[in-house]
């Protein structure tokens, strides 16, 4: 019930194209949905995040679309660039009953943007 399922596992996109990564969740207690970008040898870095009362959020070339009823959300990267090549993780967070905040990560999508 606490899983976050992410697809695809890997993605190859031409430069200038749109990269789309999808995630689904089960636990309705999740109330914050961040996306992280990770380069080899580095820790994940927060890219963009959304709360469930909003259906879409855009920051530059990155857009999150959120469908609360379907329990699905996705990341769109417009005009994809070779520098966007990285692993992307969707995540979902909730406040646990111990007062601690917990974030569950998807398994990741390895994106490669061809020049």
């Amino acid at each position: 019930q606490q899983q976050v399922k992410q697809s695809p596992q890997s993605l190859i996109v031409q430069k200038g194209g749109i990269s789309i990564i999808n995630c689904a969740y089960e636990n309705t207690a999740f109330d914050y949905f961040p996306w992280y970008q990770q380069f080899p040898g580095k820790g994940p870095a927060l890219l963009i995040a959304i709360r469930p009362d909003v259906s879409e959020k855009k920051e530059g070339r990155f857009t999150i679309s959120f469908n609360k009823s379907a329990k699905q959300f996705s990341l769109h990267i417009m005009d994809s660039q070779p520098g966007d090549s990285a692993t992307y993780f969707c995540a979902a967070s909730f406040l646990g009953n111990t007062g601690g905040f917990k974030t569950i990560f998807g398994a990741g999508t390895r994106l490669f943007v061809k020049a």
């Binding site: 820790g43 111990t98 601690g100």
Partner: protein, 115 residues
């Protein structure tokens, strides 16, 4: 400091050896998290501190794992009697808010290899 600092960056331990991994969070960040990231997988929650209080340790895989944050800043993750299955990258993250709902800042991690 400007970011979350983890040391050492790499650690090779013989099976059965004890190890200690250090995390220096961003100054003033209340929340601190430890995650374990296996190769090709997303980070998995280990434990969470709010200041010096360990509010959630439900993700610690066994009683060989122990974490502390005695003064509410630096944290240490200790693994006793290391096993091969402990090989992973251990990520530390901190957050300004008490709930972490603003997203985390991750360190670059400590890659632990147990031989």
């Amino acid at each position: 400091g400007a970011g979350v600092s983890q040391s050492p960056r790499y650690k090779v331990a013989k099976r059965g050896q004890d190890v200690a991994l250090r995390c220096d969070p961003i100054s003033g960040h209340v929340s601190l998290f430890w995650y374990q990231q296996a190769l090709g997988q997303g980070p998995e929650f280990l434990t969470y501190f709010q200041n010096e209080a360990q509010l959630d340790k439900s993700g610690l895989p066994s009683d060989r794992f122990f974490a502390e944050r005695p003064e509410g800043s630096v944290s240490t993750l200790k693994i006793q009697r290391t096993q091969q299955e402990d090989s992973a990258v251990y990520l530390c993250a901190s957050s300004f808010g008490q709930t972490g709902s603003y997203g985390y800042t991750f360190g670059s991690g400590t890659r632990l290899t147990v031989v």
